[in-house]
């Protein structure tokens, strides 16, 4: 490692020679600190420090996302095969490779554009690049429909990073979840590429145009899209049982081989990451638990009031398995910067997002995916929730003075 160390030391020495090159310090520094924990020692205050740092914290979230990423790649290929009449003889490996070939460009674009923006701000403001985008950069590809054009992803990332984060002061200062801001921008700016029935299966539109589509087997819609269609004039299925029996059982939903955003479909893969995050203490169990409880409670309530509404009749657990609910629970709502910061506030915050998410999804079928909006709304409410919790604490302290 001495060899590597020398390269960085030389690079720093060269940069430091003139004022002009000095401002590019963040570039070298960020790669350097990625490869080496720096030799900084404590100055003032506690002389020894905990081994944890933000890089490790962020990297652990990325590790937790790997099952989703790998499963997403496989599922992209799997859905493509289902839809492509000419791909019937593809093996599992072929499916995975197809998926990887389609998904990796998303990852590359997301990181290249996002980190590019971060570097520009770091150089301009003369600070080190903070690690926040490492996680956002991996989340963004996983919540995009596979057929979203890459230029849209790039635009959305620029919007998400600049408006979602940098205008507030960068990592740690943002009000809204960066990845969801990015997705919300794409969702509202390019609705036809972010929703509907043509974007969830790799190459769907091209297959349709070329006449190679397995029309009988594949509609291209997500299960939530199918469910939402119950409220419309021409539902995809005539009854709820018809929907469930057609490859949409609870366990099907759990394993996640159905069309959807790249990484959000498999509850199994998501929970692998979730367990890892809980065990390492990176994600807050309070938020996760209350989000789940809130969503489940709302779904149960809607079950009770369903009446003739087929969509509402879908059993609560089954309802939660679809869409971004679990992905949001493990990776989005737990973002500590945009969540409530007080321990009791976290319960309220998570529950609020869970309740709103299912409510928006079911009661307003115009947005088959309500989780994104619900989490963004909860983000906005988080400071208010904290304010209430802290006011309680302040009042308790003041009361002590009066009684004494």
């Amino acid at each position: 490692m001495k060899f590597l160390r020398k390269i960085f030391d030389n690079a720093h020495a060269k940069l430091n020679k003139s004022e002009k090159t000095k401002k590019f310090f963040p570039l070298v520094d960020s790669v350097d600190t990625l490869m080496f924990t720096p030799n900084h020692t404590t100055k003032g205050g506690a002389h020894i420090r905990d081994g944890i740092d933000l890089k490790r914290t962020m990297m652990f979230v990325i590790l937790a996302l790997i099952p989703c990423l790998l499963f997403g790649m496989y599922n992209v290929g799997y859905q493509h095969v289902l839809a492509n009449a000419e791909a019937a003889d593809w093996t599992n490996v072929d499916m995975f490779l197809h998926g990887a070939w389609r998904v990796l460009p998303f990852v590359v674009v997301s990181y290249a554009v996002g980190l590019g923006v971060e570097f520009i701000f770091a150089i301009k403001n003369g600070h080190a690049v903070q690690e926040g985008y490492l996680v956002s950069g991996m989340l963004i590809p996983l919540i995009m429909p596979i057929d979203t054009p890459l230029w849209m992803v790039a635009f959305a990332v620029v919007f998400g990073v600049v408006i979602g984060k940098e205008v507030f002061g960068g990592t740690g200062m943002n009000v809204l979840n960066v990845a969801l801001t990015t997705r919300a921008f794409a969702f509202f700016a390019y609705p036809t590429s972010m929703s509907g029935n043509n974007v969830w299966v790799s190459g769907f539109s091209d297959l349709k145009a070329a006449g190679n589509l397995n029309v009988d087997a594949v509609s291209g819609a997500t299960p939530l899209g199918d469910l939402a269609s119950f409220a419309q004039d021409e539902p995809a299925y005539s009854t709820l049982d018809g929907f469930i029996d057609n490859g949409n059982s609870l366990m099907d939903a759990f394993w996640g081989l159905y069309p959807g955003s790249i990484g959000e479909t498999s509850v199994f893969a998501i929970l692998l990451g979730g367990v890892f995050l809980l065990m390492t203490g990176i994600a807050s169990w309070r938020v996760m638990f209350s989000f789940f409880a809130g969503g489940l409670a709302m779904a149960l309530v809607l079950n009770q009031v369903a009446g003739e509404d087929v969509y509402m009749q879908l059993p609560a657990m089954h309802q939660l398995m679809y869409g971004g609910f679990f992905f949001g629970m493990v990776f989005m709502i737990t973002d500590p910067v945009t969540a409530a910061q007080t321990n009791s506030g976290k319960f309220i915050y998570g529950a609020l997002a869970g309740i709103l998410g299912i409510l928006i999804r079911i009661v307003n079928p115009a947005y088959p995916e309500g989780i994104m909006l619900a989490i963004l709304i909860a983000n906005v409410c988080a400071p208010l929730i904290d304010h209430m919790v802290i006011s309680g604490n302040i009042k308790r302290r003041l009361k002590r003075v009066k009684t004494a």
Partner: protein, 453 residues
């Protein structure tokens, strides 16, 4: 009305380098120093010039704004040097010591017969007053205040802490005399906190005129901050005084003998120290007497105090006024490759309160920790980690943030009157973003001191 409390939130930092329970008499240093920097916020006014002779107990400087508070020479000799720093700030007043100590002779004090004003007068004139600190603000107490109670912790729970039972062993009478005079200073109680589990030395258990409270739990159980918070919390306008247990005995000794004999035990601790035991020294002693020949390597950090709240000193620096401990830990000034010992390694040897390292369950029983920051300073990102080690009904991160933006109203509401920098030491230790919260809280207290008191 003694209370029994439990500190649930906190962290016992398990590092190598305990001191054995045996003591040696350190040789008399050739130089001693009283450091005005040990007393936060103090502006010293010198009373002796370089070359002037002093005795043990002779005032050498006083507080410029509270002139009754005198700081006395711990030994006899002559003023050798006044060491100054930037803007001519006085850093150390160094005394060249005689071979034999001669004392300012005063008559012993009959504590039973004196009143509060007389007690204050004695403590102020004899240079014992600086041992008494006040909460809030955590500075030398104001003699015009009457505290609602006085707190003395009978044990230290900080990393590698000296054993107070050993420090106070056989000093029963002196400790009692100190307690007696402290009782004169308050209308309330003198509270002495002892560990709930395990016995304590007779000096603590037999002492009278105190309320002995039991404290159970993890560090910072031994800090007066959380003890006060649970037993007799401070609201705005209230004052509590605190004294270190060993300093109570020093006060007591003066009262019994009429001489300022500031000898005490300090523990030499830390993984890089050898001959780790207790050394009998006089306050302000040159630490080189203890360090010389007792450290393993040169690339070490010398700390007067413990690793959380102590101050860095040179190998030939002077022991801090309030400290009963010297710690030597390795410096961590080297790069660490990220996969091996750096930020993404398995980290079995890395001490952490975070489950992202296996150390909590799988690591060694005691860790060897250096002074590397283990990362870089960042904005607050992770939440909830301060709360795990902060046993107050206060929101620590919000308090720190209110100080950063200098929001005085916010600080008051969020509980700044109840905390001292040392109470944030564990928060600083566990902080993922490596924020120096002790320093921030100190700034906040300074603002409150100048604006609100």
């Amino acid at each position: 009305m003694s209370k029994s409390i439990k500190i649930r939130k906190g962290l016992d930092i398990r590092i190598k380098g305990d001191a054995d329970r045996s003591s040696v008499e350190a040789p008399l240093s050739s130089t001693y120093a009283i450091k005005p920097t040990d007393f936060h916020g103090l502006v010293p006014k010198l009373l002796k010039k370089v070359g002037e002779p002093v005795k043990a107990g002779t005032p050498i400087f006083q507080d410029k704004y509270r002139e009754e508070i005198k700081f006395v020479s711990p030994v006899s000799g002559k003023v050798q040097e006044i060491k100054r720093g930037a803007k001519r700030k006085i850093l150390e007043v160094i005394i060249e010591a005689d071979k034999d100590i001669s004392y300012e002779e005063n008559s012993p004090v009959d504590i039973a017969s004196i009143d509060r004003d007389k007690a204050k007068e004695i403590l102020l004139a004899s240079g014992l007053w600086p041992f008494i600190k006040m909460r809030p603000i955590d500075i030398v107490a104001n003699y015009t205040d009457t505290p609602k109670s006085i707190f003395i912790s009978g044990f230290d729970s900080s990393p590698l802490a000296p054993d107070y039972d050993y420090l106070l062993h056989t000093r029963d009478k002196e400790f009692q005399a100190g307690i007696d005079i402290l009782n004169k200073l308050t209308d309330g109680k003198v509270n002495l906190q002892l560990r709930a589990k395990g016995g304590a030395d007779a000096a603590f258990t037999q002492v009278k005129k105190v309320v002995a409270n039991k404290v159970d739990g993890v560090h910072p159980a031994g800090n007066v901050g959380p003890q006060i918070h649970q037993i007799d919390p401070i609201s705005k306008g209230e004052v509590i005084w605190t004294v270190n247990a060993q300093d109570v005995a020093i006060i007591g000794k003066y009262l019994l003998t009429g001489k300022y004999d500031a000898s005490k035990l300090v523990a030499l601790t830390g993984s890089e120290a050898t001959n780790r035991k207790y050394y009998k020294v006089i306050i302000g002693a040159n630490a080189s007497d203890v360090f010389t020949g007792n450290t393993k390597t040169d690339n070490v950090r010398y700390i007067s105090g413990n690793v959380l709240t102590g101050s860095q000193i040179e190998a030939d620096g002077y022991i801090g006024f309030y400290d009963s401990q010297l710690t030597v830990v390795p410096e961590g000034n080297e790069y660490k490759f990220f996969l091996t010992s750096g930020w993404l390694g398995l980290g079995f040897k890395k001490l952490s309160n975070n489950s992202a390292y296996p150390s909590k369950v799988l690591g060694p029983k005691k860790f060897d920790v250096d002074t590397n920051l283990n990362g870089e300073e960042r904005a607050f990102v992770v939440t909830g980690e301060y709360e795990k080690v902060f046993p107050f009904d206060i929101y620590p991160v919000h308090l720190v943030k209110s100080v950063i933006i200098n929001d005085i109203d916010g600080m008051e509401k969020l509980g700044i009157y109840e905390v001292a920098p040392e109470d944030f030491a564990l928060c600083e230790f566990v902080c993922t973003s490596k924020i120096n919260s002790q320093e921030i809280i100190r700034k906040g207290l300074d603002v409150i001191h100048s604006e609100c008191m």
